[in-house]
């Protein structure tokens, strides 16, 4: 819908103008009484919320479709501004720990060291080739690229993988509690778990390999019993939950669109 502007001066003027208008709207919104704020937010929520389904349900390319990309860009810009707020939040919380030398001060120091190092290295790795008129040397570029790899692939990825791997131990401890046979349901759960687990290891399938592959006795073979449990018991139950949740989601979306969900309609009581 909108073509990029070729004249940089007009571009800058429009950017500054957009920023000024945004600030004025924000100030007006903050200084208005709570009931006005509530109505403005409810109105904007309704209009934007109505736009998406209408654009989708009116067949083919319609008069609303031209606004799709500009609206997506607007959402991205708004989300971009909030990233700054996230960084401010982190800096305030951890800065206070360092200034007041609290017990958690070393963790906050680790945060600042990690945050500044990663941002600095990432920035130079990405922008160094075009940052200045004079092109940097090959060696310099290779250094920042290697530094970025050390921080990202050598530190961040192994650390996140380590946290993910903890899941294996947590599954064992959760399974231990869940499978303690105290009730009929827990007993059934335990029996189903044993069948599915055994069917997934060679020794399990070997245990019932002597049973015939045809006739009704084939259902006693562990691999068949496990398949029956997962496709005929587990999958329908999960789909049933998903089915209920999907309709619930539709209802919740409608409540949000109509601003009926007052628990998070901002603007204070009024």
């Amino acid at each position: 819908m909108f073509e990029p502007l070729q004249n940089p001066m007009v571009n800058y003027i429009l950017v500054v103008g957009a920023l000024i208008i945004s600030v004025v709207i924000l100030i007006a919104l903050h200084s208005s009484p709570p009931y006005v704020r509530r109505w403005v937010i409810a109105g904007v929520t309704f209009l934007v919320g109505l736009y998406v389904p209408l654009e989708f349900y009116i067949p083919r390319h319609n008069f609303l479709t031209v606004w799709r990309d500009p609206l997506s860009d607007l959402v991205r810009v708004l989300a971009g501004f909030t990233i700054g707020l996230g960084i401010v939040n982190l800096v305030i919380v951890h800065g206070r720990h360092i200034l007041q030398r609290t017990a958690n001060f070393p963790f906050s120091l680790a945060f600042f060291v990690g945050f500044i190092s990663m941002a600095f290295v990432g920035f130079l790795h990405h922008y160094k080739p075009d940052l200045w008129a004079q092109k940097p040397s090959e060696g310099e570029l290779a250094f920042w690229s290697a530094a970025y790899k050390v921080f990202f692939e050598g530190l961040l990825l192994p650390l996140t993988s380590t946290v993910f791997s903890l899941l294996a131990f947590f599954i064992v401890s959760a399974a231990y509690r869940a499978f303690r046979i105290r009730t009929l349901e827990a007993g059934l759960l335990m029996a189903a778990a044993i069948i599915v687990m055994l069917a997934n290891v060679p020794v399990g399938t070997w245990l019932t390999s002597w049973l015939p592959q045809e006739g009704w006795l084939k259902w006693l073979r562990l691999e068949n019993a496990a398949l029956w449990l997962t496709t005929q018991i587990n999958a329908p139950a999960m789909r049933g939950i998903l089915f209920g949740a999907a309709v619930g989601g539709l209802g919740a979306a409608l409540r949000i669109l109509l601003s009926l969900e007052r628990s998070f309609s901002f603007g204070g009581q009024g």
Partner: protein, 255 residues
């Protein structure tokens, strides 16, 4: 993005469901008395807040991993209710978030909830913390917070992924009372195994109606239940038709 294909039944079905939910809201607004069954997990929220207050330790509310979507909005609405209860006892809620848009929303909702609960000064904006946008960096941050702050109650509401069990098991090890609710079907078994109370599936979207007992919200829950009965009947009828009706009739019906 594609547009709806009006040559199929699906767009009509969605609008019929929307109309039924709308009818439920209209009936409730007109004064029809509606009942919602007990949800023990939600009844336990007050108990969890009370226990954390007695122990003099904070609570933690995790609104999931997702950004701006319906489950997260629902989670923030529930957080508002928990915060109103916490304000009554002047208790502290720590709310780590993984999305910066949710950070601003959560701060506003909790600030207003503490004010409505009569303790605006008990709200500390620093307790709403953006940790990281990365799934496992966020999980390790939450686990660290839980351990350092020795939380007495955990609330996990929203969309979760593999980190759900890491969070819930850490809380379990700390002895915290834990209440969870998620529409993420794959994470429900993990929460059931590790938490004291869990709301599942459609119950998740009925929580705010249950908490506030507002007739309009109860009306939307009633409408959703009618939709589920209608859809389940449709599935049953078409399955039976496929099984028992002759092919000529099925072709005529378009099945």
């Amino acid at each position: 993005m594609e547009h709806a294909d009006w040559g199929t039944i699906y767009p009509y079905l969605v609008w019929i469901l929307v109309a039924i939910i709308g009818l439920g809201i209209a009936l409730a607004s007109a004064g029809k008395k509606l009942h919602i069954r007990r949800l023990p997990a939600i009844d336990a929220i007050e108990e969890a807040v009370g226990r954390a207050t007695e122990m003099g330790r904070p609570m933690m509310f995790v609104p999931g991993l997702a950004g701006v979507d319906v489950p997260t909005f629902q989670a923030i609405a529930i957080a508002g209710h928990v915060a109103r209860l916490a304000a009554r006892y002047r208790s502290r809620i720590i709310m780590p978030v993984t999305d910066t848009v949710i950070l601003t929303m959560a701060e506003q909702v909790l600030r207003e909830a503490y004010a409505e609960g009569g303790a605006p000064d008990a709200f500390n904006p620093e307790d709403i913390r953006f940790l990281s946008g990365d799934q496992f960096a966020f999980a390790s941050g939450v686990v660290g917070l839980m351990n350092r702050e020795r939380v007495a109650a955990n609330f996990f509401f929203g969309s979760f992924a593999a980190e759900s069990l890491i969070l819930a098991e850490t809380g379990q090890a700390l002895g915290a009372i834990q209440i969870a609710g998620t529409p993420s079907t794959l994470q429900i078994p993990f929460f059931i195994a590790a938490c004291d109370f869990t709301v599942i599936g459609e119950e998740y979207y009925a929580v705010t109606a249950y908490l506030t007992r507002e007739p309009i919200l109860l009306g939307s829950v009633w409408g959703q239940d009618v939709c589920r009965i209608l859809l389940a009947s449709l599935i049953f009828a078409t399955t039976m038709a496929q099984k028992f009706l002759p092919p000529v009739v099925l072709k005529f019906l378009g099945l």
